[in-house]
Symmetry: none
Subunit: 225 residues, 2 copies
Amino acid sequence: MNKWLILIIDDEPQIRKLLQINLESNDYKVIQAATGNEGISLCASHTPDLVLLDIGLPDKSGQEVLIELREWYQNPIIMLSVLDGEKEIITALDHGATDYLTKPFRAGELLARIRSAIKRNITTVNTKSIICGDLEIDLVSRIIKKNNELLKLTSTEYNLLALFAKNEGKVLTHQYILREIWGIGYQTETQYLRVFVGTLRKKIESDYTNPFHIITESGVGYRFQ
Amino acid sequence: MNKWLILIIDDEPQIRKLLQINLESNDYKVIQAATGNEGISLCASHTPDLVLLDIGLPDKSGQEVLIELREWYQNPIIMLSVLDGEKEIITALDHGATDYLTKPFRAGELLARIRSAIKRNITTVNTKSIICGDLEIDLVSRIIKKNNELLKLTSTEYNLLALFAKNEGKVLTHQYILREIWGIGYQTETQYLRVFVGTLRKKIESDYTNPFHIITESGVGYRFQ
DNA sequence: AACTTTCTTTATAAAATCTTTATATCTCTT
DNA sequence: AAGAGATATAAAGATTTTATAAAGAAAGTT
């Protein structure tokens, strides 16, 4: 099997060295960048399987790098931050960070997080399109088809449907959905969800008064099938 | 395979002897204690796979021993009691006893209870989905299937069934169930429980007038199998 | 700036679920 | 076999949760 490729973006050479030794002795291939811009171009040229990104960088903040990367880069990005960076961590997760680690970290924890992130990535993101009965969801091009006809969804509607589709058959709680789609802090806005489930149903269900795809689990959440 | 280790805590030497012979001839290893305090320290030093604990002990009551053990000891504890100890049994179950046997007991029953308690202990801890005959309970996705068909349960019904399934074979007292599902303060609302056991039976039992899964233990509670 | 689209709120109707009450059935003891 | 206590079932009432429409706010486009 080919080795997984990991890109480290961090300005401190000692940390880079430490990470490199740890990762290479665990059979990962490593490339490094000391600045945000360098990191972005390395990421573009090598498309690593995972990125370790420091929040505190000299040229542009880790947050900005994260946002830029997420415009086109799908693989896991784990943020590295100093302790007490609570707020930064939350914004990072909001912007699509996969996970985070606070420095100083134990090698075991780092490796565990990396393993789990990569594993999750190959099982979920790697499926490029999902087909559920008359629905076809292309996760790369963000195109939804129903009986081969193109559906026009808004961004939020699409995100919601994609989340459902990735968790087909599983009950998703209101809280979980709200956190995933709207972000932390929206977990009580259950009414948003009701409205959007309503519009989604009108678009994807053959008979929206008697929904087949999006099932209500009263008191808990919704289930997609 | 290593033999299972069983600790007997009972003040009557004849009973200890009887139990020892029975258990050892069935391939269990046995250690004994004649008093509660001795039992607790033996349990701490040997961490047996199961404890047989007499309710009537000279130094401290079996109930006290049970409570002390349950602060740190996770494995099954089967209580031994004389007949007509109904109340004591219920308090014992409330305090985390796994099962009970009334003396005098048949050897076959004793062994069956021990087998089932040990089996349950090694299988149900940390399992994500539980299969009981025609029922399949997925604790992660909150999905219940009967003969592979999806069952629609309300939130409370699901919680109740999940609680039962996690304690398969074990008698759960009304109090305990009410505390777990509805919370502290609802422990006297036995009628709630009756109504919900009724609706659950209608959904999961093949013949709900003659329930197989949810067994009534009159005066005590229910047992799921 | 005017217009379109999308998102957020608010209000209300409808549905589902939970609680309570009443009554029937069962079980155990005397 | 009668009576007490415990359990089961049905059904009405109360409450909570969900669905839907529609108005107001925000964002994006031309």
